[in-house]
């Protein structure tokens, strides 16, 4: 157990420089890259008072109108983030950025979880089947699917679904999270979960209907990697002695495959954590395609309004979340698989 503790400590400590570097990169992008946010926001002909006001809000000058040096801006930025202060939005009531982010985050989580489940289901089923029918034409088809699915551009697939199921057949909604006025009481912010907790079935059905197309879109694009991984791991396990022994004993195919899948699961599990960044990227595109009110739609909307503090805050939020998730994932593996610790 000592080695596990040492591993946890070093791994957690390593997260700190990663976060600092990411935050520095975000700072560099927002403040040092060419592009003048002030004129971009208010325009060239804005009155000087308005420009002064905005510069103050952006933290570029102090109360007396004196410019703040870059390294002080950098320190202010860091101390703000440590205190959980991501700045204030530049538009619409100027609310704290972190509150707005947290309002939109549950929608993204809900979509990501469902998309992930869909991709895992497709990946496991097609991967196991492909390995089972090794070298058949079904196997080649599934292998090609494993490569192609990644290339399927999310907005395109999403829009084709919208056109077919929404516009032609009119059986599924094409935009939003839930029908207007149907929102369940907010507990976790995940509509499916909230409507189950409050036994609000009409809300449940409405939000499930809205989730189907976006989560299938996201799921298909992410599924390829699971298909390939499952197929590879299954082929490896299926060639081992204990499977041959099981076959010799006349175990039914279904049981053999389940048996093999259990053993093939660790490499698949390892890959799941690495998929998180891809999942977030995919969620941004899916959200914009389906007008899903999550953090991706929010980010794009604020970029259009040139709300720089919010854009910066959202990217910082992504950076922190990703570092923390990769930390958690690594710790879980270390716990499951003792080889990692050494």
């Amino acid at each position: 157990m000592v080695s596990l503790r040492i591993y946890i400590a070093t791994r957690a400590l390593l997260t700190i420089p990663t976060i600092i570097i990411l935050l520095t990169i975000v700072f560099a992008i927002m403040r040092i890259l060419p592009g003048d946010p002030v004129t971009a926001i208010v325009g060239m002909k804005a009155p000087p008072e308005q420009i002064q006001e905005l510069k103050k809000e952006l933290g570029l000058i102090d109360e007396f109108g004196k410019p703040i040096p870059l390294y002080i801006q950098y320190l202010n930025y860091f101390s703000g983030i440590i205190k959980g202060d991501f700045g204030k939005s530049l538009i619409w009531g100027k609310r704290p950025v972190i509150i707005e982010i947290l309002e939109h985050f549950p929608a993204t989580i809900e979509l990501s979880i469902m998309g992930f489940i869909v991709s895992l289901l497709i990946g496991l089923i097609s991967g196991v089947y492909s390995a089972h029918k090794y070298s058949s034409w079904m196997d080649s088809t599934i292998r090609i699917y494993g490569i192609i699915s990644y290339a399927l551009f999310i907005p395109w697939i999403g829009m084709l679904f919208q056109m077919f199921f929404g516009v032609q057949l009119k059986i599924l909604p094409v935009a939003g999270r839930i029908d207007p006025g149907m929102e369940p009481q907010q507990i976790t912010g995940l509509f499916l979960l909230d409507s189950i907790i409050t036994s609000n079935w009409p809300s449940f059905i409405s939000s499930l209907k809205h989730l189907i197309l976006p989560s299938i879109t996201l799921g298909i694009v992410l599924s390829g990697i699971f298909t390939r991984l499952t197929r590879g791991a299954m082929l490896e396990v299926l060639s081992q002695d204990f499977i041959i022994a099981a076959k010799a004993r006349g175990l039914p195919n279904r049981k053999i495959l389940l048996h093999a899948l259990k053993n093939a699961f660790i490499p698949i599990l390892t890959m799941m954590g690495l998929q998180f960044a891809l999942l977030l990227t995919g969620a941004i595109l899916t959200e914009t395609t389906f007008s899903w009110p999550g953090i991706g739609t929010f980010l794009m909307e604020r970029i259009n309004y040139r709300d720089y503090t919010t854009v910066q805050g959202t990217v910082v939020f992504f950076a922190i979340i990703i570092s923390l998730v990769s930390l958690i994932v690594d710790l879980i593996y270390a716990y499951i698989d003792p080889r990692i610790r050494y």
């Binding site: 592009g35 907005p155 032609q168 094409v174 960044a277």
Partner: protein, 288 residues
């Protein structure tokens, strides 16, 4: 089924063995076709991609193979000229990220030490960050346009080339012939350029094709989100975005064709990468 079998037989005649070679050939054909379209764009269509040439929002017909958009532009010529835009952005950004990532990785892997440590930790941090979000942040600040889009994308892929070059150099450096070179007094620069760089090529080709496939998707995503190449430049991602508005009306041709070409080009490069990977790093040869 008949058709699949036919193609299988045909391919088996051209390439005696290995599904890797098949993938590479199919991938190359797709990529070359699209490069051909881009180069010979003026000969393939007589319409300008940025001028109204007919009624707006017409479905595909013999006159307009892929229909027309809201402004009456011919969609076929936008697709044809759009191939130029995406290829230019992809080539530019790949050149930029390759020319930063590769030398840094080579130096880092060859000399090691504190610089290597620092560079690695920076590159790993960028690498762990979702590429599209990074590109979105950069593009949002520096603004749209062909060059800016290429820059925004280039930043994302620097770590990919860096990590590849560093890892490979690291293992090549330990080999006996490099030690021999050093023993006879060859300069570090000569060793790196003449003896390590050529050995990076096989792996680099794989990484290159796979990350170009990824670059295409990132370019299309940026344009789709309104942060990449903008009107009136013909661009597949941008056209997809423009077509979204007409989706409820059922104008399928506005989105079907641009998306199809984005996917086709991505698949082309993925096939090349995957195929080469299979040929150069054969792993699973044992069969149950």
């Amino acid at each position: 089924m008949e058709i699949i079998n036919f193609f299988n037989k045909l391919l088996r005649k051209i390439v005696p063995h290995g599904s890797g070679a098949k993938l590479v050939i199919i991938g190359f054909s797709i990529v070359i076709l699209i490069i051909f379209i881009a180069i010979f764009a003026p000969f393939l269509t007589s319409y300008s991609p940025t001028k109204s040439v007919g009624l707006s929002l017409q479905p595909p017909s013999l006159k307009h193979l892929m229909g027309t958009n809201r402004l009456g532009y011919d969609m076929f010529s936008r697709i044809v000229y759009g191939a130029r835009t995406i290829l230019i952005v992809v080539i530019l950004s790949t050149i930029i990220s390759l020319s930063i990532g590769l030398p840094l990785g080579l130096l880092s892997g060859y000399y090691g030490g504190i610089i290597d440590r620092i560079l690695s930790i920076i590159m790993d941090s960028i690498y762990a960050f979702p590429g599209l979000i990074l590109a979105i942040a950069v593009a949002a600040v520096i603004g749209p346009g062909v060059i800016n889009t290429a820059l925004a994308i280039a930043i994302v892929y620097v770590p990919t080339y860096y990590r590849m070059a560093r890892g490979q150099t690291f293992s090549i450096r330990e080999q006996l012939y490099i030690e021999a070179m050093k023993a006879i007094g060859a300069k570090d620069r000569t060793i790196m350029i003449k003896h390590i760089l050529p050995n990076l090529l096989p792996t680099m080709t794989i990484v290159f094709s796979l990350s170009v496939a990824d670059t295409i998707l990132t370019e299309a995503s940026l344009s789709f989100l309104g942060l990449g190449v903008t009107a009136p430049t013909p661009d597949w991602g941008y056209d997809l975005r423009a077509g979204k508005e007409f989706l409820p009306a059922g104008y399928w041709w506005l989105i079907t064709f641009p998306g199809l070409f984005i996917i086709l080009l991505t698949i082309g490069f993925s096939f090349i990468g995957e195929g080469l990977n299979e040929i150069l790093n054969p792993r699973m040869k044992v069969r149950p």
